[in-house]
Symmetry: C2
Subunit: 356 residues, 2 copies
Amino acid sequence: MRIAVLGVGLIGGSVGLAARQRLGATVAGYDPDPSALSRAAERGAVDEAATDPAAAVGGAEVVFVAGPVGVLPQAVGTALQMAGPECVVTDVGSTKRGIVSRIEDPRFVGGHPLAGAASSGVEHARADLFEGATWYLTPVAGTSGILYERLHRLLRAIGARPAAIDPETHDVLLAAVSHLPHVLANTLVEQATQALASGPERLPATGPSFRDATRVAGASSAIWTDIYLSNADALARQIDAAVSRLEAVSQALRRGDAAWIVDWNERAAGQRARLMEGQIGAGPLREVRASVPNRPGVVAQLALELGRAGVNIVDLALHPAPDMSEGVIALWVSGQEAAQRAAELVRGLGYAAALA
Amino acid sequence: MRIAVLGVGLIGGSVGLAARQRLGATVAGYDPDPSALSRAAERGAVDEAATDPAAAVGGAEVVFVAGPVGVLPQAVGTALQMAGPECVVTDVGSTKRGIVSRIEDPRFVGGHPLAGAASSGVEHARADLFEGATWYLTPVAGTSGILYERLHRLLRAIGARPAAIDPETHDVLLAAVSHLPHVLANTLVEQATQALASGPERLPATGPSFRDATRVAGASSAIWTDIYLSNADALARQIDAAVSRLEAVSQALRRGDAAWIVDWNERAAGQRARLMEGQIGAGPLREVRASVPNRPGVVAQLALELGRAGVNIVDLALHPAPDMSEGVIALWVSGQEAAQRAAELVRGLGYAAALA
C-alpha cells in the first residue's frame, strides 16, 4: 500500500511511522518546510521525501493532509486534483464544518484524531500515538463507501478507533471537550500569574492539580488561532454558558450555600464518571450484516447512525453484489449488546440486518 | 521521636508511613472511624492505634491533625489541650485564615501540603507522597521558633519542601491555583455532559486533554465543601475575574480578532512557562547565619520574609546564646544567588547576616 502524507509534523509523522511499521506501507512525504521533511526521513517516518505535493500524491491509495486548520481547504483541494480516481484523501484538522462545506468530492473524508502530545514536531512523532485514540471521520451523503471503508481499515490498522460523526456535532462537541478546556487553561494561568504578582514575588505555588489543569495553556498559536477562529461561534456559545455556570457558583459561595455546593459537586462527580465510562459494548467481536442498496451515501448513513448511538464500528467490509444493484455491509462491533443495537439501528434506516 | 497523627486518611496515613520509614519515628494514630484506624495499622502507617485522641497525643513531640477543614479548629484546640508544653501541633487543612485566626497558641503552626492523589483513604497512602512537594506553613508573631524549627526539619525529613507564607496570601493564592481549577473542572464536566446530551446519545468524546483538565472534577464533597466555603470570599473574587477574562475571549472570537487571540495565547504560554520555572536557587547548599534577638516571632518573621521572596529555606537551625538574650539562626539555601538574596533580606529586617 502506498500512502502520502502532506505535512510531516507530530500527527503526519506519527501516521507515517505507524503505517510503515504496522502495515509495511510505502510512505511518501511532503512538507513545505524542507528541514521538517528531512527530519521526518531521518526518523523513518517517510520512505520518500518528495520535492512537491504531486510527487508524493502520485500513485497513492490514501493521502493524509496535515497542517493548521486555515490552510487545509486549499491543501486538500490541491491533493484531490493530483490524486487518482480511486484514492481517498483525508485531513486531520481539529474543526470540520469549514472544510467539509468547502470540499465536495466523493474521494474526500474529513478526519480528526483525538491524539496529540505536549510537544509538536516530527521529533515527537510515535508509531503508537493513535493506539486506542478516537479518530473522528465526517462522511457525507456523497462520500464513496469503498473509499470510506479503506480509510476506516487503515486507521484501525494503525491502532485508532474511527467513529463517524457529522461536522456540526463534531464542532459543537469539540468546542465543549477540547476548545473550551484550552480557553479555561489560559484563563487559569492568567489568574495564577496575577495572584502571584499581587502577593509574593515568587513562590513554589503550584501543585499537581494546577499542572494538570493548565497542561494545554498557551498551546501553539500557529495551530490554535485557526482552531479557535474556525469554531468561533460554537466556542463563544460554550464560553457564555460557562460564564453563566460560574456566576451561579460565585453567588452560592457568597451566600454560603453548602447544600447548593454539595449538590453541584456531586452532580459533577456523577457526570465525570459517566463521561469516562466510554462506549456501549464490551466483549468478543460480533458481526452484523446489513443488506443495502448500492448507492452513494449508504455507508456514510450507516456509520453516522451507529456513531450517533455510541456503537463503535470496529471493522467494516463491503460486499457488492455482482450486478452492483445492492450489497452487504459487514460490520463488526464489540459484544452481543452492541451487535443487537447495531442491527436495530440498521433496520430503523429501512435495511435488512442480521447477526452473523 | 514520637509523633501523633489524628485522622489517618491519605495525608495522615502518608505522614505516618514516611515518619516511620524515613525517621524511625514511633507513630501513634487516632481516627474517629475505627475501621480507618485499623486499616492504617494494617498498612503500617501507625505503630499504635489509640482508642482516643489523648492516648495518641500523650508524650508526642509533634502532632498532625488531618481532617475536613470544618472540623480542624476544634480538633486542633483539643489536641493543644492534651499536648505537652514542648509539643508542636500542626494541621493539614487547605485553607488557613479560618484556623489561624481561631487558634492562638505558640505551639500551633498552620500547615498545608500541596500533595494529594486522585483517591482518598489510607489505602492510597504512600511514604513518598510528599517527596518534593511544597508544604506551606503559616507561622505568626506568637509562634515558638524552636517548635517551628522542629516541624520544618521533620517535614524536610519526610521529603517535603516547607515554605512559610502568611494565611491571607495563602488563601488568595490557593483560590487561584487550586480552588478555581476545581470549580472550572466541574464546569467543564457540566458543559461536556450537556454538549453530549444535545448531540449524540453517547460518544467516545473525550481525548487526553479533557481527562487532564477534569481530573479533579467532583472531588470529595466531604472535603471540598468545607474548602470552598472557608475560602468563599477569595474564591468568589477569582471566579468573577475569570468571568471577565472569559467574556473578553468570547467577544474577540465573535469579532474574529486573530491578533487579539494570538496575543492572549502567547501571553498565556509565557506565563505558564514562568509559573513552572519554580524558585530562585539551584546549586549546592549554602549557609546563611543571621544574628537575631531572642524574642518570639523572629523565626516566623525570617521564614515569611524569605518565603515572600521565593527563597526556599532548605534547612534551618537555632543556636540561642547561653544567656538567651540573642541567638544565631542558620539557614541553608540552594546556591550562591539565593544565599546572597537571603542575607540581603535578613539585613533588610534589621539583623546582621553573613554567608558562612
